[in-house]
């Protein structure tokens, strides 16, 4: 199907199924149970899952295939967001032109940065991209304030022109982002016994884009172009000695992954029309590296899993406070309850970074292939040893 072989088709269908049924899958606990704390099926977080999934898929095209580790990818995400918000301010609240512009601008930006940075490889390339990204961050944070609104972040106001749309709605508020009239924030709530599921328009737009982005990335992985990128990763010098100029290939990969980042940025702004400079900070660039490595660099589905994993921690674990903990362990005698809360407390709430760090270390040490390798090992136990050798396919690191 779609020019994919059977295994890739299955993978694509799995991803499509997961994203379409995410409102069910992510809300396994009834709303009024104590475990509802762990439900992640609300629009904002689901949008984040798929948007950062797209970001990580794009990053993986560069890092997973060519081995070039960019530490400045957040800059493209930020540029994409700013372009999208400017589109909302000047043109109309339709998300389509905004997303298209954000991809184009991020692509151009990536072309410039890539052209300079790709003159070096290895650690020098990483440092160059990091420097560019930090530069963009500082520019956005202070120097370019007329364009970016500095620390506060670029926001819509009631007196933006919006030449193709309306400046303000009849009741005096800022119009909301939409796709030809379908409001991005529109949510349908379905109550099913004690469960409540939320179906959000914006989420489904992001999900469709994710599926398309994922499909494109499969095609790139399986194409001769993808093969060339893998060759760059295994031995670029040897390629150069055979008389082949690898620069156009790496530059193309860099621009493509920059455009993916721009797409993610544009979607982010479409879901929530604000662009802040922090999106470009080095921590944001580091986050996508973590996502990719945690999920499994060079695998197709790994980055998406990694993105989901990190965003889940950031949004769910950070919200567990000592009160919630006390209510969980309230069945224990007082002293013991306090003791257990005291032990667990540093790892939740504001300590979620710590938990994530520990998990990241464990994954990198014991599962160098990321979560995908973990899944394969578990699959291997179930299927027995025989089949695991035969699986020389999409889920292996590209080396």
């Amino acid at each position: 199907m779609f020019g994919l072989d059977k295994r890739d088709t299955t993978l694509l269908l799995i991803v499509a199924g997961l994203t379409i049924f995410a409102p069910f899958i992510l809300n396994p606990f009834p709303t009024d149970s104590g475990l509802a704390q762990f439900n992640a099926g609300y629009p904002d977080l689901m949008q984040r899952f798929v948007i950062f999934g797209i970001f990580a898929i794009g990053f993986n095209i560069l890092f997973g295939l060519t081995g070039y580790l960019s530490f400045g990818h957040a800059a493209f995400l930020g540029v994409g967001s700013y372009s999208a918000v400017w589109m909302f301010k000047l043109l109309s609240m339709n998300v389509l032109p905004a997303i298209i512009l954000s991809v184009i601008i991020a692509g151009l930006f990536a072309l410039v940065i890539g052209y300079v940075s790709l003159r070096r490889s290895g650690i020098y390339f990483s440092i160059l991209t990091l420097a560019f990204a930090q530069m963009s961050f500082s520019l956005a944070y202070s120097v370019l304030t007329p364009i970016t609104n500095g620390e506060t972040g670029l926001q819509l106001t009631l007196d933006d022109p919006r030449v193709l749309g309306q400046t303000a709605t009849a009741d005096g508020s800022i119009p909301v982002t939409n796709l030809f009239g379908l409001e991005m924030r529109g949510t349908y709530e379905m109550a099913m016994g004690p469960w409540a599921f939320q179906f959000n328009m914006g989420y489904y737009l992001c999900a469709l884009v994710l599926i398309a982005a994922f499909y494109l990335s499969i095609r790139i992985f399986r194409s001769p172009f993808g093969m060339m990128l893998r060759a760059v990763k295994s031995n670029q010098q040897r390629m150069n000695y055979t008389g082949l100029n690898s620069k156009p290939y790496t530059l193309a990969a860099f621009v493509i992954s920059g455009m993916y980042a721009g797409l993610a940025g544009g979607l982010m702004a479409s879901m929530d029309p604000l662009a802040g400079a922090e999106r470009m900070q080095w921590t944001a660039s580091g986050e996508v590296v973590l996502m990719t490595i945690l999920g499994g660099a060079g695998t197709l589905i790994g980055p998406v899993l990694g993105a989901g994993f990190i965003k889940y921690f950031e949004n769910i674990f950070s919200k567990i406070n000592s009160n919630v903990l006390h209510s969980w362990f309230s069945f224990l005698p007082d002293g013991l309850e306090d003791f257990i809360v005291f032990i667990i407390y540093p790892f939740i709430g504001k300590g979620w970074h710590l938990t994530l760090g520990i998990l990241f270390m464990l994954v990198v040490i014991y599962l160098p292939g990321g979560l995908v390798e973990g899944g394969q090992r578990i699959g291997g136990w179930f299927k027995g040893r025989k089949k695991s050798d035969a699986r020389q396919s999409e889920t292996n690191p590209a080396e």
Binding site: Y42, T152, G153, L182, R185, G186, Y188, L274, K350
Partner: protein, 448 residues
């Protein structure tokens, strides 16, 4: 010719699929039946406390959270009631809000607009929060205020001092109790005139972001109106930790007053550098060199240690105030946590009570009704004297404190002394003052 072989079953199937496809978009437009976002239906109501728990303002955030927890206790009738006993409005009875028990959820803003909005969104979408409050930085407060406006819930700003929060970025669903940079300037100027005279030369070091700029603008305008001259204004990056390279040029600039438009860790470092360079012992034009820190907090004074002695600044509230409201608040905060509250804690505590009181008086959680109850509401007994929540821009007007670093602190909390309580009339301004122009409240949004 193409062959059309239309069976009955095929027709039915196609018809069903088509109509399902056509009907699909309509499920997204159907909203819940209630008149506003997160209408609390059960016996409880959820408030969202969105504070920085990590990052540069984590100390302020932790103190804010303590204050919120205390406020919830008092609203639910636990503890000693704190300021509920001194508050001029007696609508609250310690039985929750409109008879519903108050519950809360917390989140981490990380002092980043994005993270703060994500956290606020999850409170609104997942936990059903009816009101969001918090923030320890103006950028974050403005970002979250915009979000609450879109989502249709009330935002009660925490510590945010920039003019923009209730100036060019003001929103109909957002309310600020804290004072702002303009008020700092208006309160400080007369005190500075008495202390240092009316012909000083000022040199500004300013944190390079929205808040820093509005404060620099405000202080500059206020001091120049006294007759001071502004020698130079220099922007410093927010992430800077060493300010020596910015302090050195001050020595040769001919200026005799240094104004530090810095907050938190920035101010601690820049002040320490300035003292190390011997600025305070220096004499220029035959007069002592002086340093001014327009926005002061006890947590900052603690960080800067002995360097703050004798340095003047302004603050929203201080725990040593002797009115009944402040005493009641300090007592119950101190009993629960063992130390006095900061100004951030005070403003957050007051904001929570003000929200609850407005709901109680309005008789509804509907954001539009609450906003109406808060607008032009005049109250007393919350620690700042008679206070007005102005309807035109949702800014509170109240007395502002001018404080000085204490020479002989008696404890680690007793670092500032109140020099003057600047009366409300002196810090008031018109809603269309040029420093606040360009914004538009818009109309209140109940969501749904």
């Amino acid at each position: 010719m193409s062959k059309t072989d239309l069976s009955r079953r095929g027709l039915l199937r196609t018809g069903a699929v088509t109509s399902a496809g056509l009907a699909l978009p309509t499920i997204f437009t159907a909203q819940s039946a209630s008149a506003f976002t997160n209408d609390p239906t059960g016996g409880t109501v959820t408030l969202g406390f969105n504070v920085p728990q990590t990052g540069p303002y984590a100390d302020e955030g932790a103190d804010e959270l303590r204050a919120y927890q205390l406020a919830v206790e008092h609203l639910n009738g636990e503890g000693d009631g704190g300021m509920l006993n001194t508050f001029s409005s007696k609508a609250l009875e310690g039985s929750g809000i409109l008879g519903k028990k108050v519950e809360y959820v917390t989140g981490d803003t990380q002092t980043k607009s994005d993270a703060a909005r994500a956290s606020a969104k999850s409170m609104i979408e997942k936990d059903g929060a009816i009101m969001i409050t918090g923030g320890s930085s103006s950028g974050v407060a403005i970002a979250v205020q915009g979000l609450c406006q879109e989502a249709g819930v009330i935002f009660m700003a925490g510590l945010t001092h920039s003019n923009d929060t209730t100036g060019k970025d003001k929103k109909a669903n957002g309310f600020r109790h804290f004072f702002n940079a303009y008020m700092s300037g208006a309160a400080l100027a007369p005190v500075l005139k008495n202390l240092y005279g009316d012909d000083r030369k000022a040199y500004h070091l300013t944190a390079d972001y929205t808040w820093g700029w509005t404060q620099e603008e405000s202080i500059k305008a206020a001091t120049e109106a006294l007759g001071w001259e502004t020698v130079n204004t220099v922007k410093t990056p927010l992430a800077a930790t060493d300010f020596s390279s910015y302090i050195a040029p001050v020595l040769n600039s001919g200026a005799d007053v240094l104004v530090l438009n810095h907050y938190g860790g920035n101010m601690v470092n820049s002040l320490t550098n300035a003292v190390q360079f011997g600025l305070r012992e220096k004499e220029v034009n035959g007069r002592n060199f002086e340093i001014v820190v327009p926005l002061y907090s006890r947590l900052m004074a603690k960080g800067a240690g002995a360097n703050v002695k004798g340095i003047h600044g302004s603050t929203n509230w201080h725990w040593s105030l002797q009115d009944e409201g402040s005493k009641a608040f300090v007592r119950s905060f101190g009993t629960k946590y063992g130390f006095p509250p900061s100004q951030a804690a005070h403003t957050c505590y007051v904001q929570t009570l003000l929200y609850a009181d407005a709901v109680q008086r309005a008789g509804s959680f509907n954001p539009c009704a609450v906003a109406e109850a808060l607008e032009d509401f005049e109250f007393d007994g919350m620690g700042n004297g008679k206070t007005l929540y102005r309807g035109a821009d949702h800014q509170c007007f109240k007395d502002v404190l001018v404080v000085r670093g204490k020479e002989n602190p008696t404890s680690e909390f007793d670092l500032l002394e109140v020099v003057e309580v600047t009366p409300r009339e002196q810090v008031e301004y018109a809603a269309d003052h040029p420093m606040f122009a360009g914004g538009n409240l818009g109309s209140c949004n109940p969501g749904a």
